[in-house]
């Protein structure tokens, strides 16, 4: 991504870089598996079914119709309004995240089709500072919903986030409100918002936009909750159930509509879209 290093405006595309290694070892079953087969299989181990981590790009690719990807994000990158520094300055952290992921921010925003149906799709990248929501992600989500309004189509948000981005302080916190405000516009327009929760959907993201879907689908193996396990254990010495904040916990406690296997997610989204696509008087 040479353009990116120059901090020029760039667009995400889905072309893959060449893979150096041909094989990888599955952490779950210990087998050596052919990397291309894993990729073609939604990053699921062909031997044991373990889900490997999906990057945002891979996630987008796994969900949309081929050659329908169009980057519709705004050409923006994060500021450092607080002048935040911990072990390293925030701008450096951002740059490293950008290098690592090849993305300008923690979200990809695309217009695409799923089984021929148009959608605007936002996908968070957990490897970009824990998929945390700062001003850029908030703006992109809002822009995506507005784009869905312009295109009269559904908005899908695939969350993978630790919550609000600490380094942007109150601005990060207020993205919870910002995305909620625009989400209300989408509702007024009677356009569907499908929230997909993956591993992990927590903190300020779970406590705002991700929980406001007309339909909320969790990927099997997702982690869903507000407070982190550590915080809970520190605040109150409580025994937590085995399935705490898992997909099954979330469905048992009425937080989500469905749990869906990764390999079925695309067709599941198509099913949902069809309900809102046809037979409406818009």
């Amino acid at each position: 991504m040479p353009i990116f290093k120059d901090k020029q405006y760039f667009r995400v595309n889905l072309e893959k870089e060449a893979d150096e290694a041909l094989w990888l070892r599955c952490k779950s079953c210990g087998e050596l598996v052919f990397k291309r087969r894993v990729r073609e299989n939604n990053n699921i181990c062909p031997n044991c079914g373990e889900y490997f981590f999906l990057t945002a790009r891979e996630r987008v690719e796994s969900l949309i119709d081929e050659e329908t990807f169009e980057d519709v994000s705004k050409p923006i990158v994060a500021d450092d309004p607080l002048g935040f520094q911990d072990e390293k300055p925030y701008p450096q952290r951002l740059e490293e995240a950008q290098e690592k992921t090849g993305l300008p921010s923690a979200i990809i925003l695309a217009s695409a089709k799923i089984e021929q149906m148009p959608v605007v799709l936002g996908v968070m990248e957990f490897q970009f500072i824990g998929g945390s929501m700062g001003s850029v992600m908030g703006e992109q989500i809002c822009h995506g919903m507005e784009e869905a309004i312009r295109r009269r189509c559904a908005f899908i948000l695939v969350s993978s986030s630790g919550g609000a981005r600490m380094q942007e302080g109150a601005f990060a916190l207020l993205q919870m409100v910002k995305t909620t405000a625009v989400r209300a516009r989408l509702a007024e327009e009677r356009l569907p918002f499908i929230s997909v929760m993956t591993y992990p959907t927590t903190g300020g993201v779970q406590a705002s936009i991700a929980s406001l879907g007309d339909i909320i689908i969790a990927e099997k193996g997702a982690m869903i909750g507000f407070a982190g396990r550590r915080v809970i254990k520190e605040t109150i010495a409580e025994e937590l159930p085995k399935n705490f904040q898992t997909d099954t916990f979330a469905i048992e406690h009425g937080m989500i509509d469905r749990v869906v296997k990764r390999e079925d997610l695309r067709s599941e989204l198509a099913t949902v879209l069809r309900f809102f696509q046809e037979g409406r008087d818009e």
């Binding site: 309004p81 109150a170 601005f171 909620t180 405000a181 779970q206 109150i236 705490f244």
Partner: protein
Amino acid sequence: MSDERTLDLLEAKIQELRELNKVEGLDLSAEITKLEKKLAKMRTELYANLADWERVRIARNTKRPYALDYIAEIFSGFYELHGDRMSGDDRALLTGLSELDGEKVAVIAQQKGRDPAENKERYFGMVRPQGYRKAIRMMRLAERFGFPIISLIDTPGAYPGLESEENNIGGAIAASINSMIEVSVPTIAVIIGEGGSGGAVAIGAADRLLMLENAICSVISPEGAAAILGKSKERVKEAAAALKLTAPDLLDLGVIDEVIPEPLGGAHKDLQQTASALKESIIRNLGELSQASTDSLLASRFERYRNVGRYSILSG
């Protein structure tokens, strides 16, 4: 540099001198006046140079006035309405009807406890899903009858616990933010102590966001932020500074609309004075908001939140 405790000791001594001064034939007035001046000077020095971490300490000071203290000072009566109509009555988030300067208002207020028993009841001001659902009910009631909403924020955060997660605390916060956004009456939120993360935002998404001078508002506690890095005390103070969580910082950043002054040393030094400043600010802001039609009120609220955030536009 002297700390608050030293100053409190000195103040107590001065008070003793004042008592002694009443004894006939003993005139200590000059000395007392001197000491008073010295105390005032020390206090000014201490608090004028307050580091962010000290502000955190003041915001959390257990002597600090809590929501009910301000309510008693500012409003005429507080008719508390309990319960979410579904499963519980959270004592860390109170709702009720009240009257401010002759106008009926709906109040939503986070409330900490004063003693261990009360803190147990109020979960140290940490709100559970039932609390946010009660807040939503209050917003709907306020909307039906056209009562403006005053929300007083003072929470370390939403209650992190199994029970909270089982009742979808995240979903409850999201729903509460959504109600704040949609409610068609003027809304004013005031951070009076701690504005802890999502637990504060849930009832903070208002038309006006005010903050007491020594209140704080942060996406994460300084301790939480420090824990990510290491755990030394110094790191906590560093984190407190880095997070830009004080009222003056947040005013600079354009996140809040107004800082309400506190007396030197903090609100607990003079409740009446603080309450009076708070009251003036709320009435003034409410007056401004009441000028607007419902449509323009909602449009302004939308614009406010639609545009919040800071980012750079890349050159193409």
